[in-house]
Each structure stands twice: as C-alpha cells, then as structure tokens.
Symmetry: C2
Subunit: 220 residues, 2 copies
C-alpha cells in the first residue's frame, strides 16, 4: 500500500467555540478528502473498542458495525456499493469504510427499543472521538442503501442498516472534484447555543448560554 | 447550596477494554448516585457548546436541550416531572437535569430527517464527553414522558422529547436505595467486539477485533 505521492498533513479545521470545549471535540470534523494512507488494524480495533464502551439504554448495545478496508478491494467495493452514488463519489477515496446497523428491538423481549438509533449515535460518536485522538478523521453519512446492505450482508429482520462512515487521514483534496475541496475549505458553522438551549419554555434561552456582553475591540 | 456533609470523591469505574481507548471514553459511566454539589454555569455552558459542535446530517443540528438546576427548585421539579417515576427516584438527587428534544423533520424542506435521532445521540455523546473531561458524570435516560414534556414546555409539532440526563458529580450512594448503590458498584460489562464487528456477512467477526491469543500468566 505504499504510494509515491507526498502525503498531505492532516487538515486542521478547528471549531470556533463560544465557550471552551475539549480539544478532541473542537478538532473533530468531517472531511470529504482522504489520504490513501492505510489505517493500521490496531487503530481500527481501538475505534470499535471505543464504540463498545459507549452507554446504551438497558446496556442493550444495539449497534453492529461492518468494516471494509482497501487491503481487501473486493470487500471494499461491496461496502462502497451500499452508499448512495453521491457519497460513493468521494468516500471511495477513504482507506476504510464502515457500515452501521442497529437492532430496533430488544434482544430478550423483542419489544421496540426507542433508544436504539439514538444509542447507535452515542457509540458512533465515541468511535469518532477515538479516531480524532489517533489523528484520524471520520465522515459519517446517512445516505446509504439499506435494502442493498440487507441483501449483501444478510442483515436479519428487526435490524436495519442506518449509516456509513469513511475513515482515514484527511487528505489535501487533490484527487477530489472542486466542489468537495470547497466544502473542505469552508469554515465550520453552527447555530448559536441560545437557539437550542432553553429553560422553562420553548424558545426561552437558558441564561447560562447567553452570549457574553460584546467586548469593544479595536479593529483597524 | 452549601451542605455540611463531606462530598465524596467522584467514583471511578474504569472500563476494562481489550484494546486501548482514550481515557475520556474509558472513564465515562452512568452513576445512579450524585453528590449535591452544584455544577457551575460555565461548566454547563461548555457542555452545551460541546453538543453544538457535533456532526449532523446536512449540518441540520436537530437537537434542542432544556436545562434545569437546583438553584431554581421550581424549574427543577418541572423538568423532573417529565421523567418516568422510576427515574425520578434517583435522578432527583442530581444537581442538574437536562431534557433533550429532537426535530424529526428538516427545518427548510419539512421532509423527514432519518438521521435526526441518531444525530441527537452524537450531540449528547459530545456533551457527555465534555462532562467527563470536567470531572462530571452524565446519566442518560430514555424513560421520560414525552407528552407531559410537550405540554409543559410547549414543544412544537414535528419536535419530540426523546431523552433526559442527570448531570453532576458522582456521589457515594449514601442517599440512595440499596439497589442503586449495588448498580453503581457493579463492574461495567459489554459484549465482546467479535459479536458486533463484522466483515463480509452477518455474524462473521472482523479479524482485526479477534481476541488476542491467551497469554500464560502466573497468578499465584
């Protein structure tokens, strides 16, 4: 898997938080461009181990992950084919693809698990955090073909393919169409916290996230 | 909010991972017992800021959080009343309660957002990670009363209360019923990774998470 082109340093696209947050959270972002440098198996094992120790309702652990690396091109192509074409276009550059599957019912009782999809999110966030800690990037996608995944991987009833992820080192975008390069260069943007942290009633911002009083700064 | 009893040090209940994971992920667990020590507002602001910078499909940011602290006992009681009674029983000891709400449709198009509940999980995992980094604990719950929450907080159509969280410093369990104390003392357990990390077909463990060959260790 050696290649003769220079490998770009991991892109850095730091959040611009209004209140301090941990570096691992500030540094996480979702690149469209990946270097072709392979991800060592011990890193991948730690990513799944991070997901494993996530919280879940009744400790149900409703998540399943399929993994494919470019070391096995046939398997990589199979997993890639479970993404919608618009995601295949950029995700094919990543050295590792992951498909997530969620159990929508409790294994013991067969009852609906209302927390299942949420808890898949918890586990995948932990996986993503572990990746950041290892200098890797994760780009998650909802745009997949669940029926194709069910057929290819014999996913049982009451389980459902839900998301996919591209995993690797962020690239320099050279191999990507210009539109993706632009997205990778655009600054990260979020709603202000007072639009989604409320107290007492819908639309009433919690005082603790109120924007700080404006500071007069010379800007000439 | 002073109290005369000694505050127990935060309980530590480290994961026992088979592969190394970041300390913040290994240390996170969900206590039933909380100290009554208040959480400073600047910590809470950073928790929500961590959620804010989470990933979401189309950057939709479908999460909303309601927060209530014991500094406002009336508001705390209102939020507490949105939990099922079994959760109220232990969560009432926490200094902070949070209710999460998710937008099930895209704000612009009104179309269903299949990623919404998953992405709420991503954001709440980031919130929880930031809490761990600050020596705080988060215990998430699916057991809430969404209809009561809708009525109390005027939650609009197409939004849905989904989870709640107790937030604070893990306690020593003295104020809790014995059953909760036992849960807090029990070791953390998870399925082995080869039961949920597959390659190629359902039930086929990925080689990279295969258990390491047993090592002979003198244990006398």
């Amino acid at each position: 898997m050696n290649n003769t082109t220079a490998i770009a340093p991991p892109s850095v696209k730091h959040a611009t938080p209004d209140h301090p947050i941990h570096d691992l959270l500030a540094q996480r972002w979702s690149p469209y461009s990946f270097s072709d440098r392979p991800v060592p198996d011990d890193h991948l094992a730690s990513l799944f181990e991070a997901a494993r120790w996530s919280a879940s309702s009744y400790n149900e652990q409703p998540w399943t992950y399929f993994v494919a690396t470019k070391q096995d091109p046939g398997e990589f192509e199979r997993l890639l084919s479970c993404l919608v074409p618009a995601n295949q276009a950029w995700a094919k550059a990543a050295p590792v693809l992951i498909l997530t599957v969620v159990s929508l019912r409790f294994a013991q009782s067969g009852k609906e698990n209302r927390a299942a999809v949420h808890d898949l999110g918890l586990a995948s966030a932990s996986l993503s955090m572990e990746a950041t800690a290892r200098g890797l990037s994760v780009h998650q996608m909802i745009g997949i073909l669940p029926d194709r995944a069910r057929e290819l991987y014999q996913i049982p009833a009451h389980f459902e393919a839900w998301t996919a992820m591209a995993v690797g080192s962020a690239g320099n975008g050279e191999a990507q169409p210009a539109a993706w390069q632009e997205r990778d260069r655009a600054p990260r943007q979020r709603k202000p916290a007072d639009e989604f942290v409320f107290t007492g009633a819908w639309g009433h911002p919690a005082a603790l996230v109120a924007p700080a009083a404006p500071v007069s700064v010379a800007t000439d």
